[in-house]
């Protein structure tokens, strides 16, 4: 599903973020990226949705070589990968429903389709009752659920999560983890960067440890 081959990333200011990374992630896997701050986790995730390009090496999603993608094709890739962040990134002037609908409007879905999909996905993340609330009226956990709904509403095969629990208290964090686990069990590949080790240990999934831009440790989850 995701294949990273001999990838190095040097930012234009000269900062070396990743050195010779090799990583294979199969369909329906759940993978944690762990490591200290500044290790290169976010950079690795950005390469997967082509927010950044590898300086050397190749990143594949299925058979698509991301460094061969022309700018016009990038939006098409984005529709196959959902992304969520620590800081949510919701539109404050739109309601929960509108925020989720937005992701479908921009790719040209019909009104009817959007309505059905949005209500279904809000049901899945447990926010049906809050569909007309604005983000500022929600708790952090609820806001992150909206983001998950927005990331998943176009049915991507991959969900990328960069510190999704970073701004949440323990209860809300577990709520999000249960949601991600449920989504993963329904077939979506999940890659999550985090340094919340208590979560990583309890989930017992595959763990990739990144330090100073290199993979330094690799544990398989209980399923293997």
């Amino acid at each position: 599903m995701i294949s990273i081959k001999n990838v190095s990333k040097i930012y234009s200011n000269g900062a070396r973020a990743l050195s010779n990374i090799n990583l294979e992630i199969s369909k329906s896997e759940f993978v944690f990226l762990v490591g200290p701050s500044g290790a290169g986790k976010s950079t690795l995730i950005k390469l997967m949705y082509r927010e950044e390009e590898a300086t050397r090496g190749q990143v594949f999603i299925d058979t698509i070589n991301l460094s061969r993608l022309n700018p016009k094709q990038v939006p098409l890739l984005r529709r196959r990968t959902g992304v969520i962040f620590q800081d949510f990134k919701l539109l404050p002037t739109k309601t929960v429903f509108e925020n989720v609908a937005f992701a479908q409007q921009v790719i040209g879905k019909s009104k009817q389709e959007i309505k059905v999909n949005t209500l279904n996905i809000l049901e899945l993340v447990g926010l049906s009752r809050k569909k007309d609330s604005f983000p500022s009226e929600l708790s952090g956990g609820e806001q992150q659920r909206v983001c998950v709904a927005r990331a998943l509403v176009n049915k991507p095969q991959i969900l990328l999560a960069d510190e999704p629990t970073g701004n949440l208290d323990i209860d809300n964090a577990w709520g999000i983890m249960e949601l991600l686990d449920k989504i993963n069990r329904e077939g979506t590949t999940v890659v999550m960067a985090t340094h919340a080790m208590h979560i990583v240990e309890k989930m017992a999934k595959r763990v990739v440890k990144v330090e100073e831009g290199r993979i330094t440790d690799h544990k398989l989850g209980e399923a293997y």
Binding site: Y49, P71, K72, P75, L76, L77, R78, R79, V83, K89, L91, T93, F102, A103, Q105, V106, I107, G108, K109, S110, K111, R150, N154
Partner: protein
Amino acid sequence: MLNQVSFVIVQALVSLKRNIWLTIASILTVMTALILLGGSVFFLANTSNLATSFESQIEIAVFINDNQNREQVIDLRNQIQVMAGVDTVELTAKEDAIIEFQESMGSSSLLEDLGGINPFPDKITVKATDARLVEGIANQIAEINGVDKVRYGQGILEKLIQFTDWLRWIGIAVVAAFAFASFLLITLNIKTNVNSRENEIQIMRLVGASNGLIKWPFFIEGLLLGFIGGIISIGIVGIGYNWLLQYIITTLAFLPVVADQMFMISVFALMLIGGMIMGVLASVFAVRKFLK
């Protein structure tokens, strides 16, 4: 496709409405910018009109030698008529000149009083197409056989041309400065607008919106802001200019003014189209920064 078109339009309208204060501020900015621009164009038109009207009062008086007969005088006139830079030529025969003078004096017996001798020479009045050509033409005419004297306000002419040049340059400088100022105002304003929505652009990119779809709402907003600001500023400049014209015509009647309808309509069109083009261009440049 149709879904996306309606999304783009709704998106533009909704964001104009949701950010109503920013929208109002933008419209006021565009309006101010276009009032400066339109006002300065009217200023330029009038200064340049004033300059032309001053210059058009310059004429060359050519006095003919007494020994020339009528045929020769007419020949002279034709000769001057075809010279380069000559606009109009008017012959005043000596018989007409004295009658004119008589009438202006209120006397009917002047010629008899003078013992039947007409002191007026034949005169040809020449106007040039451009005040700058007057001196050259006058010198050329002075060389012609049969010409006695040439008068054109020697000495004053140069000062007048200096003054009218200066008037025109001021007009052009004012238009250039205000056009630049209005471009700056509109660009800065729309840039702020777009920057304040970086978040939105980022999210659109994230969920797979094509660059075109991201740009279009901003284009439409820029166009609408330019249009609305343009209409309001046309109203204000139109009413203001007409009021000023009335005032000048009634109190400073000697001052020539530009009141040509076609010209006014073209200035208003310039304001409207200029506003919309600046609105769209500013949007394009502002959004481009966020699209990789």
